[in-house]
Amino acid sequence: MPLVTAYHRPSTLDEALDLLSSPERVALGGGTTLNADREPSDLEAVDLQALGLDAITAADGGWVRLGATATLDDVRRCDLLPDSLRDAARAEQPSTLRTLATVGGLVAKASAESLLLAGLLAHDCRVELAGGGSAAGPSESSLAELMAAGLPEGSLITAATVDPAGRTTVAATGRTPADVPIVAAYGRRTEGFVAMALTGVADHPVLVDVFDPTAGLDPAGDFRGGREYRLHLARTLTARAMEGLR
């Protein structure tokens, strides 16, 4: 694990942003990513737990706002969210880690294999940011754009907001039932529109065209699934998810 040389626990967002303006400092959410990192680099931890960003609340228009330091276990328990998102939060980490892992950490990590991120994508997730050099104060970005562009330097995720409406379905393939899927499809149908997000086919989960789900995809293979296999799964699982939305 990295060698944490100093620990900070800011109590305001401004204080946190100020601390994070130094490159050797890293935001600490639940610690499941940072403290599990096997690279032995020195860093200072800026613990976000005192910022009051852990609430999950109903937002305008029926949307749900997930505070950045809300844990995946909080998401799993939230009855404002559809079962598919709550199940995705459950599946994201086992019981002993999901109580620590945070929504902000999930978004910042942008893991290609994250089913919950795919779910957030399908639910039109918007990400609220603070800092990042914007004089205009807090900003908002779509999750898809944020993952494609990367987190702006010096910025801090404060919340993610999703539209819970619609019918949803998930199709996935893994080595075992609870394995991190090699490829997964999270589909959501709202009036006149279907959003389909895939994991395991790009650097991060992506929204795809349901009629041509592999268009533009060039997945890197690994020992769990080569490129061709992942493309095959993308087509197969998208079709299955579409079937589930009918």
Partner: protein
Amino acid sequence: MAADVTFELNGAPVTVAVEPHHTLREALRSLGMFSVHYGSDSGETGAAAVLYDGRLASSDVILAASAGGHRVTTVESLNVSPELHPVQTAFVAVGAFQSGYSAGAMILGTLALLEENPDPSEAEIRDMLSGILDRETAYVKPVEAVKRAAAVLRGEDTEPFAPLVLEPLTDGYRPAPADTGGDAPEAPHAVPRLVPSREVPDMAVVGKPEVKVDAVRLAKGNPAFTDDIEPRGMLYAKVLRSPHAHARILGIDDSAARAVDGVHAVLHYGNTPRVKYASGGQSWPNPHPYDQVSFDDRVRHVGDRVAAVAAETVEEAEEALRLIEVDYEVLPGVFDERFAMDPDAPRVHDEDDTTHICDPQRNLVHHIAAKRGDVDGNLAAAPHVFEQTFRVHQVQQCPIEPHISMAWLDSDERMVVRTATQVPFHTRRMLAPLIDMEIKDIRVIKPRIGGGFGAKQEMLIEDIVAHLAIATRRPVRLELDRAEEFFASRTRHPQTITYRTAVDDDGTLLAQDMSIIGNTGPYGTHGFTVQIVSGLRGLTSYNAASKRFDCHVVYTNIPVPGAYRGYGAPQAEFALEAHMEDIARALDLDPIEFKRRNWVKVGDEMDIAPHLGERAVAEEELDEYPKIMSSGIEECVAQGRREIGWHRRNDAVWKAPADRPNIRRGMGFAFCMHGTAIPFLDMGGCSIKLNDDGSFNMLIGATDLGTGADTVIGQIAAEVLGVPLDDIKVYSSDTDMTPFDTGAYASSTTYISGTAALRAAEAVRERLKARAAMLLEVDEPCTIELRDRRAYAADGRSVSLEEIALDSLHWQEQEQIMGTASHVSPDCPPPFAAQFAEVEVDVDTGQVTVTKLVMAVDCGVAINPVTASGQVEGGMIQALGYAHCEEIVLDDDGRMVNPSFGPYKIYRADEMPDTVVYLVQTMEDSGPFGAKAVAEIPKDGVAPAVRNAILDATGVAINDLPFTPERVWAALKAAQT
């Protein structure tokens, strides 16, 4: 810089000084919370899980500083009285702990779950357990424990946990009528189904589901494991490991490392004696070649030792490692056993001080050959000859407790090594020459072990801590991290296995010709003996007129294979049972009928067995071949078929469910036969003495890895002595204190060490009878019976064991009543089993879901049916991982790409198939109270049963492991073209 952090621990505020990098796990252990165990740095094992503000959380990934202001609960919070909390009691009652390494986490998770939901569903229980990886129980009994705890806390009555006793379906010898057994019995999966034998008498302690002797210690999280004591002034060791699969070390500059504050020693090839050895924990003399030294100027796999540092802190040791400059000449590597003998393959060992390598130019360590009968003649004349090649892969044992050792010089300047080992006596003997000390000046202590599965049948790191303790004259501790456990510990041997089998028109085997290329990696260790067992298991299960074994054991540059539960049998039985299945299909025979026609039965010779093994003999040297003396396989098959619903194999509707068009279902079977100890080699000793109160201390060298060996051996002694198990206080093992034992391997402990205990107890019993006869004024002590803590004369008069003890220790003709015995067996009675698997195959994606596993085992008399069934449950799930999802994956440079749980996938609680165990009793006269072995046979049949189930479901045979989705998909696709 250290800073104080204050949090609530078990209801009271505590303040502790922590460095910024300290984790909550480290802080808790520094506060004496020894129930919190290390499993990995990234928290996925759950061994260090605590309640964090009331929710289960891995303390490995919580910075101690982050915990400030939070509420932390460990299992020590429950230990407010000698009695157990009801949740602890429930886990103990159902035998939910084996090693108990993660006991604290399971109990805490249960508390939190039940506080939130007093009546959780099984899915909710399994979800709670999903973060606590258990390599031992298959989660079957932990789930039952949570249900039981919930019921108790709801105020409901619970029945004592006991086996479900069933009527036999056969006469013990002949097969049952096909599929006429009716419905399988209803009972929770955790309950072992027990089919008693008429030959086995009812006993007071043996055969009973006794609570484990160490249950309270484990349930309370009391300090019991290697790391749970901390000698004053202890230094921390870390090992610099090779980044290259193969390289020559041209030089090492350790000056900067030595200059780091807190560093006390840096050891490497330049300052450590070059003493050749073989690290496999085996009896003297260890099989050659002795191809290792503590630190070499050559590295032969990624992760090989380069140097070791001892420092005041782990961080200082790690800093020193970073500053060691190593000049490598990188050499080409070879990884695939099939190419290791090629003329242009790089030579893994070209040093001139390693002898007994069969052909070092070809990386050929051993060539093993054995034969009986005219194989070539039978193959040439047979109407049917089948040839198939199988490839089995490399996996790791994955004990949740990694290797850990500490060493110090005691006040007599003797070397004391406290270590997580399966082989304390072998370790003592093997360590002596490496550190230039005599055996008598070394003491090896084996405390509680958090799982081993063969990985700890090795002197893996004990020499490092001993060298460092000598260099520093301070206690030194070394613990492998999870990644090191994967690539710098021990693994299962990959093999390429080819069978050629000749079969008569009626399905009778005429010849079996088995050849293996075994990959022993860069060092021999267990390379010879593992392949021998492959031959033994691969060629003794079925009768054939002629048999031949031809095996090449080769060096490569993969992480080092060694002993792994099953020890060569899982590889061989995968190939054998797949091969036999395919032959049956090719001949249009029912697979079970075809196998039955040929499998060994009572009275049959194990005809090639004596020609294999560490003390193989030629045919002309033998008076007779060993024979099968007991077998319950027909009852196993009958019970297993009924439980799995074997008749559905022919049900088209079941096999292709209309509502799931991409799913095909199938069932598979594997016949399993294992060994029980190594004849003429495995030896165990036992010493028993009487105490003032009529209880007994029992000292054994056998090493309980969590298997329940201490309990089972205690039950054997208790039965003989007529006392409850609680009156036998078991201690194991310490080379200064306990009798010799070869160690926990080869399915030997119950059979060998148990017989030693039986004989020691018999010796004590004779003295007790004599003293009782004296007190009761009975002329013939042989008429005295021991039961219920008393000695009874034939006329009904009795005297208590306490009275005998007080009389013999304090009153007249004083003596210490004690008995010592040891045992080595000329026999190796095989346990048998029928393994069944049910699968669903997604034919569009290749995903295989194993929905049910059933194993019916003839292990003789199960001394403790609960611990025995726990062994089978855990073994089956390890075996399922081998079949289905576990694999060490190396990149082109020999570097492991998945050295953590997750990428290296082991099953967790929320994805388990249904798992049911049947214990079919037979009376094995050579075993203690009729016992045979049970520890390893569950590893043998799952892979072929799953493979045959996939074949049944799809018509596609896959001959490589594991059955990952892409591999299955590719096979399905190939079959379509």
